[in-house]
């Protein structure tokens, strides 16, 4: 459980900056659910290319955070914030990170490790409309919200519930990488 402790610590720190205490607790709840479900299977490379292919993304790996094929985006369904004025882990100016989120596991080919990433939406502006990315590795339908990317994770942002773009934030190593 070492990495899980680490995980909570990181995620709570990173999220506390932007969110109320209530929503941090909500977030930890989400992450707890998600972390408990991290599969031990290795990532299926072939499926990744397939998943991205129909949406016109380039096949294979990419080191470019503006590319849908960038390793951290293995379950992003939306616009990449790195093409909208943000980065792979920062929201564009004038938008707000979603206080709640869901997490997944992505394989980094550079070090052959699996990482737990937090998928947050950036909220409060209308669709960025640039760099649409649709990858769904180990993504599950909405009856498992902690693994679902169809939900608008700006949902709990009140007057800022508009969806603008999506980020993917490294929280720590996945159990399977131990």
């Amino acid at each position: 459980m070492r990495s899980l402790d680490k995980l909570f610590e990181n995620s709570s720190r990173s999220l506390a900056r932007h969110t109320s205490r209530r929503s941090v607790l909500a977030t930890l709840g989400q992450i707890l659910t998600g972390a408990a479900l991290v599969p031990l299977l290795p990532v299926d490379r072939s499926s990744r290319a397939q998943a991205a292919e129909p949406k016109g993304a380039a096949k294979g790996q990419s080191d470019d955070p503006k590319s849908c094929e960038y390793w951290k985006y293995c379950a992003v369904d939306g616009f990449l914030c790195s093409c909208c004025g943000g980065s792979s882990n920062s929201c564009p100016p004038g938008t707000r990170p979603s206080p709640i989120t869901w997490i997944g596991t992505c394989h980094n080919p550079a070090d052959q490790r699996d990482y737990i990433v937090s998928y947050n939406d950036c909220c409060g502006k209308t669709s960025c409309g640039n760099c649409e990315c649709n990858r769904n590795e180990r993504e599950k339908p909405m009856y498992r919200p902690s693994r679902n990317n169809d939900l608008n994770w700006c949902m709990a942002s009140g007057d800022n519930s508009n969806y603008h773009c999506s980020v993917s934030v490294i929280l720590g190593l996945s159990e399977s990488a131990k």
């Binding site: 499926s47 129909p54 508009n162 969806y163």
Partner: protein, 384 residues
């Protein structure tokens, strides 16, 4: 000249020949009107364009599968759900508006659109809890007798609202213990899908409050092979396809859900080739003919949203595949959404990932028409 023409009719041509060579009378003045919809026909389809690149401007487009005409537009706001009333006379849209378009005060609302005038007749303001997710049959759903309208909430805590579509009021909110969406059955039952693979079924009393609830046995395994939430209406309930191509038919005609034996879309060869269903509306069923149409592609884990490169047709009695239509042969892009009309000369509507909508003869697979760019992102299609 008029008198001359008159004389012509009565008498001889000769005297008027030169005048008859004169130009035709000018076109009459026109009058500006508002078009009324032509009489209903079974080949109309309501196409939800999520307008994903400009998502606050989602709309429902009414399209005619016989004349290939766009009949009109219904506003759908941001990240909407929608459905048709059992009598087909009303389109309900569950959506969200912000006072300043991209920002400002959030208002969640259900709008009642008259399908003969395409105008909003009523609305019900909701608590700001409406499930913001992909549209399905179950974001917003009517009871069989239209007494109740159910709206799914996710905050992310899951619950649903019971609305009165006659008095335009909110009757109650019912917690679903993490189970999601509102699958209607009968006049007063609502089932929600749970992470455990079970259905939670809540029975309502006359006032639209919870009378009782029951949890079914699991009918799928969310870890091994999750089902799409896009249920497909059947004669006694809904069919749910799994990521790996299993068909789970749920009978909702009784007090509690019953599950038909599970069957697969795939034989050994299909499995070996990695065929799977995928898209935003993966299948459609013609109830009377007992035929299931599915959007199929080849791919691995994580490809459940990939559009189909083929449409497969199955017989719901024999569970046999009776037709297989490769879309490349029809020069169509991958298909993300399918819908079929319920009449005896059914039309299959297939929306591609490039936002074209193909009109296909559901009996023969013959391509009749391709409507180019029916919006930006047509993700769900409904018909009465």
């Amino acid at each position: 000249m008029k008198t001359c023409l008159l004389r012509t009719a009565l008498l001889s041509l000769a005297t008027c020949t030169p005048l008859l060579a004169a130009p035709p009378p000018p076109l009459p003045a026109e009058h500006l009107t508002v078009a009324t919809l032509p009489p209903n026909n079974p080949h109309r389809v309501y196409v939800l364009d999520e307008a994903f690149n400009n998502e606050i401007d989602s709309r429902v487009l009414l399209f005619d599968g016989d004349t290939y005409k766009r009949l009109g537009q219904i506003g759908a706001g941001f990240n909407p759900g929608f459905n048709l009333s059992p009598d087909g006379k009303t389109t309900v849209v569950g959506t969200t508006y912000f006072a300043r378009g991209s920002r400002g005060k959030r208002t969640d609302v259900v709008e009642f659109n008259d399908n003969t005038t395409l105008s909003v007749e009523h609305e019900i303001v909701l608590p700001p809890k409406r499930a913001m997710t992909l549209p399905t049959y179950f974001n917003l759903a009517f009871s069989s007798d239209s007494r109740f309208l159910y709206v799914s909430y996710v905050t992310p805590a899951a619950s649903f609202g019971v609305l009165d579509p006659a008095k335009y009021s909110v009757l109650s909110e019912i917690d679903t213990a993490g189970c999601v969406l509102t699958i209607p059955s009968g006049p007063n039952r609502v089932s929600s899908i749970c992470e455990s693979g079970r259905l939670l079924t809540v029975t309502l009393n006359e006032q639209g409050h919870e009378a009782s609830r029951a949890m079914s046995e699991p009918f799928f395994d969310a870890d091994k092979d999750p089902v799409f939430v896009q249920g497909i209406p059947t004669s006694d309930g809904y069919a749910f396809l799994s990521f790996l191509g299993e068909v789970h038919e749920v009978d909702l005609s009784g007090a509690q859900p019953a599950f038909h034996p599970v069957w697969s879309l795939l034989d050994a060869a299909d499995k070996a080739q990695g065929w799977r269903p995928g898209g935003t509306q993966v299948g459609a069923i013609h109830k009377k003919l007992g035929r299931l149409f599915v959007s199929m592609h080849r791919g691995g884990e994580g490809t459940h949203k990939a559009g189909g490169t083929e449409i497969w047709e199955f017989d719901l009695k024999t569970h046999k595949r009776v037709a297989r239509w490769p879309l490349a042969a029809l020069k169509l892009d991958a298909v993300g959404a399918l819908q079929v009309t319920q009449d005896d000369a059914p039309i299959l509507f297939a929306a591609t990932e490039k936002a074209d909508v193909a009109v296909i003869d559901a009996l023969t697979g013959r391509l009749r028409h391709v409507e180019k760019q029916l919006g930006q992102t047509p993700w769900l299609m409904m018909n009465p």
